[in-house]
Symmetry: C2
Subunit: 290 residues, 2 copies
């Protein structure tokens, strides 16, 4: 998954320490999460960002981009299942699926659990793909799947220019703050609507329900104009700020709470039909997003 | 709230650092959470534990006992609302309520939002009460409420010896590992059942659904024998390990999912009727607890 764009004063304090024994992320300017590094597996700077992968006794391999935790072996299923399956399981037959961002391949792996014909992954940074191919066990098999197609490129440009059409689009973008806010703009979502097949469905990571609430509230206004059904839902991600993450479900055809039969792949660790409904229940402090 | 009893090797690394600028908790032996300390408000050792209260720019006042985060001003409502309201809102009229543990007063404050006649708080450590009275704004008004009664004493002994009977009992105990495991024993819960009025209901913090899964699984076996309705439910707690916390709902009369009208106090930040139902949805990896 992709997260970036925190304020600079926290970013520069996040990541591996000087003696490479510990990585930390300032989730706010004054608090955060830390991981002891048994080994540093990867440490490089690409054209886009600083890439660090460490081995941690509790979470396994941990990927940080510009010092922000993107995914860990132990808890990635929480995020990737909840990004992919509420949308893909609501669609009666998602044949063509697009994943924007998500160079670690976790979302692609979940998409391939559905009976798709084609799954396109658009990731801007080939350096992330190369690092994750080497150190995260699920990426290489997902990319080698005959249904997968990898595009190295800008997600916004891809959506603007492509002639392809999709039954489901999963937006595994950066957070709704900082330099990559274009993937949270009205224009980007209008573009996504254009490349949907009739009956298509979109799910997008939306950020932290606490840290990014202003951005979430603003976004919900134009998304309600663009889509007949626009709903936020929630899921836990232990290594993301405040431990709970927010996602969008967008469709002109499917109400995610209409009681339809969900086509849920076998073998999932987190998502099931009860969780699907439960995820759309918003606490009082998020009622502004309903 | 009360949490303690982690393995010693992590506990001794948790808490304020040497120069008092930062507090950290090792949530696992190799990872955890940190808070910059703008000020250290309290640092003392009682007969039971080390008590630290710091001021943090993001979370406000943070209480640590033996280096483990108990509560913060910013996020306490998540935990205390979910400990208290699913039980107290399910009961048609909880008049007499018992809180075991929870010397910070957060649970007591939530109990007093219901039309109770008497709320008894049993906390073992007067040093926690004294520190929280001074530094957490909600404790003093809760204790001064004419319906409140504070008992400084051992929760297990209180339950064994009391002649009082309660409509609702909230167990704000330590985690189900380490020296305080007595509050997770079958004998303790049999005692709780004895002091319930007919139609009474119990909610208990049960620990982390990831870190304490073995203990949760074992406990569910005897709780199913003791109570007609024994269910786990979940809620987010940003500053607790993995960000999601597990609770028990226990009753011989009320199925928490029977669709009854919930008597929910006004002005809550988290809990509502949709959240009530959603909290009982368990992810696949916790289906063993169903």
């Amino acid at each position: 998954m992709e997260r970036c764009g925190k304020q600079e004063n926290t970013m520069k304090n996040s990541g591996l320490n000087a003696d490479k024994t510990e990585a930390r992320e300032f989730q706010t300017p004054s608090s955060g999460i830390f991981f002891k590094a048994d080994r540093v597996l990867c440490e490089k700077t690409t054209a886009f960002q600083r890439v660090e992968i460490i081995d941690n006794a509790a979470f396994g391999r941990v990927l940080l981009l510009d010092g922000l935790v993107q995914t860990t072996e132990m808890d990635e299923f929480n995020y990737h299942e909840m990004l992919v399956h509420p949308a893909c399981s609501s669609h009666p037959a998602p044949r063509n699926v697009l994943v924007i961002g998500g160079g670690d391949g976790g979302a692609l792996g979940e998409v391939l659990k559905h009976a798709v014909e084609k799954a396109v992954l658009v990731e801007i940074d080939s350096g992330v793909i190369e690092a994750c191919r080497e150190f995260f066990p699920w990426l290489e098999p997902a990319l080698k799947d005959s249904r997968s197609e990898l595009v190295i490129g800008d997600g916004n440009a891809f959506v603007r220019d492509t002639d392809l059409r999709f039954d489901a689009v999963l937006v595994d973008s950066s957070d709704p703050v900082g330099p990559s806010t274009v993937l949270h703009d009205e224009g980007f979502y209008a573009g996504l609507k254009r490349i949907l097949n009739p009956g298509g469905v979109i799910a997008a990571q939306a950020g932290s329900p606490v840290l990014h609430l202003d951005a979430l509230t603003a976004k919900s206004l134009f998304l309600k104009r663009l889509f007949k059904y626009s709903r936020y839902y929630l899921g836990p991600v232990p290594t993301y700020p405040v431990g709970t993450w927010c996602y969008h479900f967008l469709s002109d055809v499917f109400d995610p709470l209409d009681g339809r039969d969900l086509r849920i792949p076998a073998g999932l660790k987190y998502y099931n039909a009860e969780i699907h409904t439960a995820a759309f229940a918003l606490p009082n402090y998020l009622r502004c997003l309903a």
